[in-house]
Symmetry: C2
Subunit: 385 residues, 2 copies
């Protein structure tokens, strides 16, 4: 296996290619963006997602094709799959593209989810709220990400406002979960069906966008419960590759929110904090090779960097002593408000060392006031009733 | 300290920039080659070494300037040094550019070197050979690298042939050293004068070009002797940055061959095999920051990749189990016969595991027959009389 085709050329594709360089793999990216940030690590076919000539070229020239973007059109993925192996299985992609199909499947598989109703009309919305009560969340079934295409319904008057905003699309209404903790479990499954799991990761979002991930953060019992949930999804699809499942922890119960059939932002810490990164194991899986160890190499905490790469933090002599435990990742993307343009992971042998270093870095990044790092301290045994 | 200027944009500049990314530094490269391989990691000023506008731009925009190439013209380095700090000190650069100045300085500092004579005329050459006897080596004083600009004189008739070949330049004639082992010591010295040393590295050359480096390979006594030699050079220059000193081991004695006032090919293993790489410590040093640990993180053996990146080796399922201990580095250079286009480092906890993995890889790379890996096994205590 030598040439990996990737539908999408964003930072996930970029980090896959970075992992693949040490494995001697080559990459071709199909992405309509002329400035796709993965392009400098391989060949870039700059074309629309449904450009059949480009899809044929990618399929013919790749030994295996994967994706870094889950809104690849179904027809495009199917066309490629007729030319060469595509992993993860396109079926997982299609289900994940639609929140209704996704939640329905999880329900069928016995994976706990918040109650939900499909909403196509105003009367559907009223009927849903009658069942779910307020607060609830109205979401588009497709193309939502990072909190976009969602509205929280807290008051009766929110219904009409959100309907005006979202009502021209197929929707799903879900019971609002006032969770205690957000987390995600990331797993890789090989072609032989063998699965490996990284430590359950604790996440903090700000305005719908992941701000911080920390791992390990949970005890073995919670880890096993999360593993069992994602295992059901992966086995259902006879999955190959990395999958992420976002979870809420509420009163000691895990509730599934959504899954991503790809490497995931909350797994970026694995580059610096785990024996094998999610990117390397995704490549190992889709190439039919043995999976690497997902053990923690050290405790890790990742900050997403949005908008522009910070200047002051990286100049800081205060941080210099910590450099071997502070890992900057610059995606080489043009700065733009709110855009994910990089991340930084701090590592440490001890929980207290890690949090002290993270606090120092948060200060330098100017996010110390907005993020309560102390809430991330310690295990969560007390929550796990 | 934020923007690092580098005179030169080859693979050494590229690996400096890769190390600097994790430290949040930015890079500007001045290099006349349009396809300088470091360019994708920063900004590239494409101009001749003596282009005064370009040198002014680099000097004005950089917080500190360094080089990845020792044949930067003296006038260019001096011009830059008038605009911003340049490390290592240009004086070390000038001495290293001329084998006669270099050997004379080492002799003055009490660093053992093979006997040598300057040669400008035919009678000089005859007089030198009378003193040194055959075999000897005739070398150009300037612009020699990777075995170029040298001729071994074994027979009387070699004198005339080599004079025809090299006699139009300033030369040096050195006693030929039929060494037992080649090695190199790499050190970093901070602005505060504190020095750190990586483990003495054993090297194998083929046709004048480094083929393999392995570390650690020597006992503490030999390590200390090598450290003492490079320390004299660094202290003499009040040096800041990474320096490499190539040594021959002959009958238990260390003889210095040449020093490089920069990161060095025989230190590439430090990326994957040491707590801090030569590239990170060079940046730490020139930025006036504390140096990182030079301890071995694991045993390491590096193969240079010449000409083109190997295809078959990287496809091998045989190697897949070893991937976490096989680290490919592709400089993104155009393939060309004999060109250094990448390297691959194998790591291992045990000497035997390392050598077994290296043998497997050498087989896949097609160099197993040409390289005697077994000669690299074990320590060299027996040689250290």
């Amino acid at each position: 296996m030598k040439t990996i085709g990737i539908l999408g050329g964003g930072q996930l594709a970029r980090m896959l290619a970075q992992a693949g360089q040490s494995m001697g793999l080559e990459f071709i990216f199909l992405d309509p963006a002329a400035d796709a940030c993965a392009a400098e690590l391989g060949e870039h076919i700059c074309a629309d997602w449904d450009d059949s000539t480009a899809l044929h070229e990618l399929g013919h020239r790749s030994d295996v094709v994967t994706f870094d973007f889950e809104n690849v059109p179904e027809a495009s993925a199917s066309l490629i799959a007729s030319l060469c192996p595509v992993y993860p299985p396109p079926q997982a992609l299609f289900v994940s593209q639609d929140r209704l199909r996704e939640k329905s499947l999880m329900q069928e598989l016995g994976i706990p989810v918040a109650a939900f109703y499909p909403v196509s009309t105003r009367p559907d919305l009223l009927a849903a709220i009658e069942q779910l009560e307020l607060p609830s969340v109205l979401k588009t079934r497709r193309f939502g990400y990072d909190g976009k295409g969602q509205a929280v319904l807290r008051l009766q008057e929110d219904l009409e406002r959100s309907w005006q905003q979202l009502g021209d699309q197929q929707l799903i209404c879900e019971r609002f979960v006032s969770f205690d903790v957000e987390c995600s479990i990331i797993a890789a499954r090989g072609r032989d069906g063998r699965s490996v799991f990284w430590p359950l990761t604790r996440n903090l979002h700000r305005e719908g966008v992941l701000a911080i991930s920390k791992a390990p953060s949970f005890d073995q019992q919670m880890q096993s419960r999360a593993e069992a949930l994602i295992q059901r999804l992966m086995d259902h699809f006879d999955y190959t590759g990395v999958m992420a499942l976002e979870l809420f922890l509420k009163d000691g119960q895990l509730l599934a929110n959504e899954f991503a059939p790809r490497v995931h932002n909350s797994g970026h810490w694995t580059i610096d904090g785990a024996r094998t990164s999610q990117f390397e194991n995704h490549l190992r899986a889709i190439c039919g090779l043995p999976l690497g160890s997902t053990e923690s190499a050290s405790k890790a905490l990742m900050f997403n960097l949005l908008g522009h790469m910070p200047g002051t933090a990286t100049e800081s002599v205060t941080m210099a002593e910590h450099w071997q435990q502070v890992h900057w990742h610059d995606y080489h993307k043009t700065a733009r408000d709110g855009r994910k343009i990089g991340h930084v992971t701090v590592t440490g042998e001890s929980e207290s060392g890690l949090l002290a270093r993270a606090a120092l870095l948060a200060g330098e990044l100017g996010v110390a006031a907005e993020i309560n790092l102390e809430s991330l301290a310690g295990g969560l045994d007390s929550v796990d009733k």
